[in-house]
Subunit: 274 residues, 2 copies
């Protein structure tokens, strides 16, 4: 089996990958440099599975992942999830003073998760986006006035110094990753199902859809709206529910939803992360 | 009256400001360089009103605006909205070939709205964030290998060349701005109200809250979830509804909501943008 993830080594995605693959005997790992590239490699069968970030407890959804799964990636399904704690470090090639930092390089999500820290401690710095936190660390290696935001392991791997630890704006910080493939997972008895739908723009239409879940006493673990991209003020909803799409009561729910939504896409069922 | 906006001259916020102030006889305009600074200037009474972007039809909500209004900015209210069409241009100091562009500078929202264009046409470029599109244009002025993403007016103001027009990934592109102040607006008969709330994490709790709106036949024009920042999987909901908070049926709704939500904050009522 071939799995790709948002590399290089030292990203938070790699941490999620190591957790996911610890019980898989034989797998080839491939580093890919952006989320759209990961999804397109999986779509073209260049790999069998892929791990991408989807949601962070401070900054919210990773829009590019949601939007690609909603609008593109017709044939992909979610087969797993991994949730890991996120601790961000400020990393540089040497122990420089914060007042001498001119650039801070990181993934846009990491920059957003540390917005307050940056404003208070390094207000003079320009923010430069990188495709991953590890790439940011690698880049800061050759710039004396730059610092990167990344994890401890990336500092070790690339021989860099940690200036400050735990710099995210809220100490309790988690990111949820999903495992994508061409098939989702079998029933385990402790599953979740992800789906997206749109409803007509009339009073009560979202309420009616949520009523389908409430009638069956189904818990939603996530609800997120994204612009439909067709008309301003029209949304597509991403919902995660407890249960597997092959469970009897979920089958009932999905059938009812078909009649109450303009568009419905089942993204897959998978075991809850423990 | 003193109004501040996300400057410098040539931002999309300035366009919204010019529309908003065209019938106001006397006002002083102040450019501020970031959304958090705008909100803190308004909170400290350094100005009377402020205009900030809140939502784009391609990329969705401006998280920093939502989060500051949800978590900080206790005393601020929304008193108006302005919706403008957004057309992004690729701007440089000279007519350089796209293959020679090494950096693309813009506001993170603008970079995200042109993601596909950049990937297809300037894949080699590094993305650098700026606090506003106009600042990005101003910065690209002194870098021969950089281009900025901004509007036509910013190219004119700063004497720059437009390399390509309409580069956003979806041609129909709108951004909604809100006017913040210490008071919201009087009833006009064609109003909207913004509110945020959280519900307990049990099956049907969001459904019950939306039922309050549905029972009164109230249309939601926006619903958006943001992480609560307290616990992973807990959300705060931002909802815009049709009607003014002093309308009789909205008063009924708000009273009912009080009993069904863990937290409720009325962000203000204001005339719908025409």
């Amino acid at each position: 089996m071939r799995i790709c993830y948002l590399g290089p080594q030292g990203t938070f995605s790699e941490k999620a990958l190591l957790i996911y693959t610890k019980d898989i005997k034989k797998c080839d790992i491939e580093e890919v440099s952006s989320i759209p590239d990961i999804i397109s490699r999986l779509s073209s069968n260049a790999c069998d599975e892929a791990i991408v970030p989807i949601e962070n407890s401070i900054e919210g959804s990773v829009n590019v992942t949601l939007d690609m799964l909603i609008n593109d990636a017709e044939d992909l399904m979610i087969k797993g999830e991994i949730i890991i704690p996120i601790s961000h470090c400020l990393i540089a090639c040497d122990f420089i003073d914060l007042s001498n930092i001119r650039y801070i390089i990181s993934h846009p999500q990491a920059l957003a998760q540390c917005r307050q820290f940056i404003k208070e401690n390094i207000p003079q710095a320009r923010l430069i986006t990188a495709e991953s936190t590890a790439k940011a660390v690698l880049e800061a290696k050759y710039k004396g006035t730059a610092a990167a935001i990344g994890n401890e392991r990336s500092a070790e791997i690339y021989g860099m110094k940690i200036l400050t630890r735990d710099i995210q704006d809220v100490k309790e910080n988690y990111t949820r990753f999903i495992v994508l493939s061409h098939k989702d997972s079998e029933i385990t008895g402790n599953d979740k199902t992800s789906l997206v739908f749109s409803v007509s723009n009339t009073p009560g239409s979202l309420y009616k859809v949520l009523g389908v879940f409430a009638d069956e006493n189904i818990n939603m673990t996530k609800i997120e709206s994204r612009p439909s991209r067709r008309k301003f003020g029209e949304y597509v909803f991403w919902v995660d529910i407890e249960g597997h799409r092959c469970d009897n009561h979920i089958v009932t729910v999905l059938n009812k939803l078909n009649g109450k939504t303009d568009f419905l896409k089942i993204l897959g069922s998978y075991p809850k992360f423990k």
